[in-house]
């Protein structure tokens, strides 16, 4: 019984040692496989890019701090545009999580990083949501 307890404790310590309290995973997260779904999402986003850029310049669509876009008073057309764009973006984000073996809750991290990139690449005047949740124009 005592040896079983020691073995159990050793197993716990081994797992803790392997993980550490703040294990840093320093890796390159990428699209490792261009699946048909991902390819279709990328193609659709490329074809939609000019229309989306124009909507952002008009202020009817904005970039959220979750790596998605949201309609901002642009009516059904802006809503449909945002819905299609978000569907394709999420396909790509989920593929990055799955293909890199990240935990499911890493999706929020992926979205936050893409949002940061979108803010950096936004054109002057585009509506962007800051990390705080506040909306601004770049």
């Amino acid at each position: 019984m005592r040896s079983l307890g020691i073995r159990w404790m050793s197993g716990c310590l081994l797992v803790l040692a392997m993980l550490g309290p703040g294990t840093v995973r320093s890796e390159t997260y990428e699209l490792k496989q261009m699946t048909p779904d991902v390819q279709a999402a990328l193609n659709a986003r490329q074809q939609r890019f000019s229309q989306l850029a124009a909507a952002k310049q008009a202020g009817t669509v904005g970039e959220t701090n979750e790596g998605l876009v949201t309609p901002r008073g642009g009516g059904p057309e802006a809503a449909a545009l945002a819905e299609a764009e978000n569907r394709d973006r999420l396909t790509i984000y989920q593929a990055i999580v799955a293909q890199n073996g990240l935990p499911a809750d890493a999706l929020a991290t992926v979205q936050r990083v893409f949002a940061e990139v979108q803010r950096e690449k936004a054109a002057a005047g585009d509506p962007i949501q800051l990390p705080s949740g506040e909306w601004s124009r770049k």
Binding site: S26, E30, P103, V117, K121
Partner: protein, 49 residues
Amino acid sequence: MAVSGCTVKAVGDPNRPITIRAHITVDVKGLKQTASNIEDLVSGGSQTP
């Protein structure tokens, strides 16, 4: 940098199962570069994600 939680189950004594909650810090530098490449591709750039 971002923190994401995960649960690891260690099996030793079936009568005394334990659950360890660990936090993994994800280095997002590589992810940001990938994101940038993908957005360049979408906008008509030539980088491959």
